[in-house]
Subunit: 172 residues, 2 copies
């Protein structure tokens, strides 16, 4: 287990495959069981175990008294040498408002810069206003799209039919 | 667009983000619409656009008269320097039995070896007998698991609650 510098006083480490099911379990709690079993299944499909096996070295898991309180799954793009990508981030609702999400992002920005990356990308669902506000605060630009949802530019069918997304880009 | 040596006479190239929706569309056809809209959605979640953006350089797309007839999405593990991973493979049912799937795997094995990898991993659903037979023919070992399904060792809840998997490993 690799121990990393703490974030806001919390221990930080690389996630391992053993963290996969515990992370999926806290997600259901953090998301308030959104979407029932189907929502839970969709979150599991978005976060397959392979990410905890193969992207561990570019990801971060934050604990408090051994409990998972936040995590960031990201990677350095193998095919786009200037880019890195933030795939999934979660923060325990009980810990929100303290800057833990922002600190996690800053940690990933630093890791990306150290590895020669000059662009970070991330996406979110158009209905996720909080995510849009957060990414904007973190310096991301929402890329222009051919569709609009409540004033935000949307990439229709980005991840498949019906899976519209906002696409964020930040220059490091 | 990077052109690669042909496979069984078929043009081969790196997939691009523009191939994402066409690949999802042929999957529905190749899988015979398995699982209806829900099945289609699950396949889309397993194959997000990020794979066509960031894993393109380790993936292959095979065409015939511009039609997609097969593809392999794989990557060199960033966190496990000895390993590579085959995430998703599809072959047009009309083209099966000609060795296209095997040729695609061999191409990925060669790419993995050239990049210093000595182990390839892949997973499949326990009900997918054809996939198990294919991986066994290709020299993969099904890793021992604590559960059994019709004589095969299963990793229960591998990818999340209820998402059992067979886990394959091949030494190159």
């Amino acid at each position: 287990m690799t121990t990393l510098p703490p974030l806001l006083g919390h221990p930080v480490r690389r996630p391992t495959p053993d963290d996969h099911l515990p992370v999926l379990a806290v997600l259901d709690r953090w998301w308030g069981g959104l979407g029932g079993e189907e929502g839970s299944r969709q979150r599991a499909l978005l976060l397959p175990k392979l990410m905890f096996q193969h992207f561990s070295s570019s990801s971060f898991l934050v604990t408090a008294d051994e409990r998972i309180v936040a995590f960031l799954i990201g990677f350095l793009s193998p095919s786009r040498p200037a880019e890195s990508y933030i795939h999934f981030v979660g923060v325990d609702p009980a810990e929100r408002g303290k800057g833990l999400g922002a600190a996690l992002y800053e940690r990933f920005f630093a890791y990306s810069r150290e590895n020669g990356r000059s662009v970070v990308r991330a996406i979110t669902s158009p209905v996720n206003k909080d995510s849009h506000a957060f990414h904007t605060r973190m310096g991301f630009v929402t890329e222009p799209g051919p569709k609009e949802f409540e004033g935000l530019p949307v990439q229709p069918d980005y991840d498949g039919p019906g899976l519209d997304r906002l696409s964020f880009r930040k220059d490091l």
